[in-house]
């Protein structure tokens, strides 16, 4: 469903995404993990036509998002890491605009909006301006909106950011449900390793723009000789006990950091 080959994105001299290749099959839940600044969001932006790759190939459902833009866009839904709602509009109005942008017919739009707002417990507040919502409510609205046009692929960039445990739990239950019932492919990022461990069929770990590991949660744990995904993650991204057992690459990075005034 998603095929990425040798994807590269450079910002000036920074290789934000550096020769990344992976595939996600239809109906799969793929968790893309990595420390802050690893290149997760940049990858998602390239997958979702927001950024032009410096080089490399992308296919979404067999389409090249750079060429068949709108065809590709119809197939995915996205929950951005950063806010993306119009605060001056109400929850319903935000949903309405989304529905129109994605050509969802009027009746279906109404019906799905009601379903989703009820599902994410926002129905009672549907006529309130979004700027009056709490952080978690805004997040839930963004997630509900992402489902509105029944996408075939869902990109979720830290969807649980700012959500309480109840909402997080509910969100993953919902995602698993649509994944199983409608075979929606899910590409997600999160900093909660337990979530990734629980919901993802496969995981990719990215660090400094490079994909450093790929496989099922179990395989990744086995590969690193750890028992939790959190430990595996730390082992792979090398930020634990870096002082004691820093690899030469890590040492180079430390030096680079010192010389560049701690910019990286």
């Amino acid at each position: 469903m998603i095929r990425v080959q040798n994807l590269v994105k450079t910002f000036g001299t920074l290789n934000a995404v550096n020769d990344v290749s992976f595939e996600v099959a239809e109906g799969e839940i793929f968790a893309f993990l990595g420390p802050n600044g690893a290149g997760k969001t940049t990858t998602i932006k390239m997958l979702t036509t927001l950024l032009k790759p410096t080089s490399g190939k992308i296919q979404l459902d067999g389409l090249d998002p750079q060429v068949q833009r709108n065809e590709a866009r119809k197939r995915f839904g996205i929950v951005f890491q950063d806010p993306s709602l119009d605060g001056d509009l109400t929850a319903s109005e935000n949903m309405e605009i989304h529905g129109v942008l994605y050509h969802v017919p009027h009746k279906l739009r109404r019906q799905r909006t009601e379903e989703l707002l009820k599902q994410f417990e926002l129905w009672d507040r549907r006529n309130d301006q979004v700027k009056k919502f709490s952080g978690g409510m805004k997040r839930r609205l963004e997630i509900a909106r992402g489902f509105l046009h029944t996408p075939r692929i869902l990109f979720l960039d830290e969807p649980t950011l700012g959500l309480d445990p109840q909402s997080r739990n509910q969100l993953w239950t919902h995602i698993k449900k649509v994944n199983e019932a409608e075979r929606v492919t899910v590409f997600l990022t999160t900093h909660y390793m337990d979530e990734a461990d629980r919901v993802a069929h496969r995981i990719g770990v990215i660090d400094h723009g490079k994909l450093v590991a790929q496989g099922t949660p179990a395989a990744i744990k086995e590969q690193t000789g750890t028992t939790t995904l959190e430990d595996a993650f730390l082992a792979l991204t090398g930020s634990t006990i870096r002082e004691e057992s820093a690899s030469s690459a890590d040492q180079m990075r430390q030096f680079a950091k010192m010389w560049s005034g701690g910019k990286r």
Binding site: K45, T48, T49, L50, L51, K52, R69, N70, E71, R73, K74, F76, I78, F80, D82, P83, S84, L85, D86, G87, D88, L89, E93, E96, I97, H98, V100, L101, Y102, H103, H106, Q129
Partner: protein
């Protein structure tokens, strides 16, 4: 319901919901009207230029349409900041539709603003010559609005954050305003100033409004004003669409 319509509606709704801002935005033109109209009026008349209020009212109307439309175009910056822009950029619709919807919405808001100011001018004592003048004025307001809303989008597409805003304000919007002849008769401008004012699209907009409202000191022919605005509007709209097309988020 079409994409253009819903994005147009969004701009209009946002405008109507910002009541405090609407009232605040009437303050500035009102100040110009009162201070200049009543302060400079006697001098203007003594110099044989006619009634200053009749002269300056179209200038103030043009000014409010200018500000309101260029800000609505630059509203792109706010949408970038608050993130809504991304929502429209990943949607399976052409950028052209998004740009046109936004621009028409911004223009509508600017024209509403212009109409409000016209009303204020009338209350202050300004008198249009005949009923036909109103729809013609409206037409010129629409053209001014489209020209500058498009320019706003074109500029806003290239700005990453609010930093550039002050720059645009001081080095573009204010000069456009002051060089447009909103406050002084263009026919008295000499030398370099004369040529600079001729390159200012707003000059033609305000001159057009003056023509149809029968104000004193009209500089050009209303038909010339119309043709220039139409041409500049078309070019700016295309320029804005092209710049918007190239946005990356």
């Amino acid at each position: 319901m079409s994409v253009i319509y819903i994005l147009w509606l969004r701009e209009v709704k946002r405008y109507l919901r910002s009541r405090v801002q609407i009232i605040a935005s009437l303050g500035n033109p009102l100040l110009y009207l009162l201070v200049l109209g009543f302060g400079l009026g006697p001098v203007f008349k003594r110099a044989g230029n006619g009634d200053y209020l009749q002269f300056v009212a179209p200038g103030i109307i043009g000014m409010s349409v200018l500000f309101s439309s260029i800000f609505s175009g630059l509203g792109l910056l706010w949408d970038r900041q608050f993130g809504f822009l991304k929502e429209t950029l990943v949607a399976p619709v052409s950028r052209m539709q998004i740009m046109v919807g936004r621009t028409l919405g911004g223009s509508t808001v600017a024209v509403i603003q212009g109409l409000l100011i016209t009303l204020v001018c009338v209350i202050a004592g300004f008198r249009p010559p005949n009923p036909l003048a109103i729809p013609l004025t409206f037409g010129f307001m629409v053209m001014i609005a489209v020209v500058f809303a498009s320019l706003g989008v074109a500029i806003g597409s290239g700005l990453q954050d609010m930093q550039g805003f002050q720059l645009i304000m001081n080095f573009l919007v204010m000069p456009i305003y002051f060089l447009s002849g909103a406050l002084f008769p263009l026919k008295d401008a000499h030398g370099v100033l004369k040529y600079i004012t001729r390159t200012d699209p707003l000059a033609y907009g305000i001159d057009g409004i003056r023509s149809v409202l029968g104000a004193p000191n009209v500089a050009f022919d209303a038909r010339l004003d119309f043709v220039v605005l139409l041409a500049v509007g078309t070019v700016f709209l295309m320029f804005g669409a092209w710049r918007f097309h190239k946005i990356e988020a």
